[in-house]
Subunit: 134 residues, 3 copies
Amino acid sequence: MHPHSLVALVTLLALLTYFWMSTRVPLARRKCGIWPPAMTGDPELERTIRAHYNTLEWLPLFLVSMWLFAIYWSDLVAAGLGAVWIVGRILYAVGYARDAPKREPGFLIQAIATAVLLFGALGRIVWVLATVGA
Amino acid sequence: MHPHSLVALVTLLALLTYFWMSTRVPLARRKCGIWPPAMTGDPELERTIRAHYNTLEWLPLFLVSMWLFAIYWSDLVAAGLGAVWIVGRILYAVGYARDAPKREPGFLIQAIATAVLLFGALGRIVWVLATVGA
Amino acid sequence: MHPHSLVALVTLLALLTYFWMSTRVPLARRKCGIWPPAMTGDPELERTIRAHYNTLEWLPLFLVSMWLFAIYWSDLVAAGLGAVWIVGRILYAVGYARDAPKREPGFLIQAIATAVLLFGALGRIVWVLATVGA
């Protein structure tokens, strides 16, 4: 009845991780005293905003790829790779707030998880279209 | 055959509300004479851009939560909460363009609607996984 | 078994097009020597960032409309309009990096494709709700 509950769970946990990043922005604003709509003026605030926005940039790549992977391959494997993505994103946000180069290990982890999901789904979809037809 | 037509309708109305916010940006640009790619330089333009972008930030949280709520609970209740979200977002954008603190009531309305959708879906998904299994 | 494989394929190709735009940002940064988290300071860098972000702004409008069009009308027509969107977006990004007014033809192409998908889906959903009920 609900064949994708694991991926649905990981989706909401990923969105909560993303939401947690957005809550770090007002805390960084309080620390440096720069208020909306200003988005610049303090390096730590700018890094905190960029960590949040870079995650927003990747959300469509990640979420769509994870769901297509779950539909065309396996719910369990997709959810596992999604959990790896979440861990990578947490490392990324915590590292980026400290210093720009410290965002790189976490970024790499989430990028690899996304690439496996995206190209895994893409390969299977091309194969389905080539063998079974549209 | 189409069990989620109400949520599909509210989804497109929410996207049109979001699109309407984006059309306010060129109008604010004309008023102050600041052109792309510049994103700063006039407080009203910056507030209009931020209203649009904050809505973009919340779209994945809102749309994904509404659809999972519709699938795991009720299409009708999800669509109703989605309509509340749209009203909150319109109040937010109109208020924010006037003055930064005037964005708060609308923001609160859409945040509560999103939270009910997200945690409602999350609770049911955890329950399904615990009782029925993956 | 997989009734929307064509739209799934176009979805991943659109996301790869979007990802390709994001890879142009570090190249533009190298050219002008401006590093994260800074987002301003060189017109070509700013235009490259804006091309990427404008595509992010339109992704929810485009992807959701294409899928609802595929579900309520036709997978093949939705995928064809999606391919038009991708062509428009490539013209847009290449043009915008050169000069701000050169982004306009590509922008128009992708906007028309999105509008047909969105209002096509919206019309059919309203018709389904009016004749068959929720």
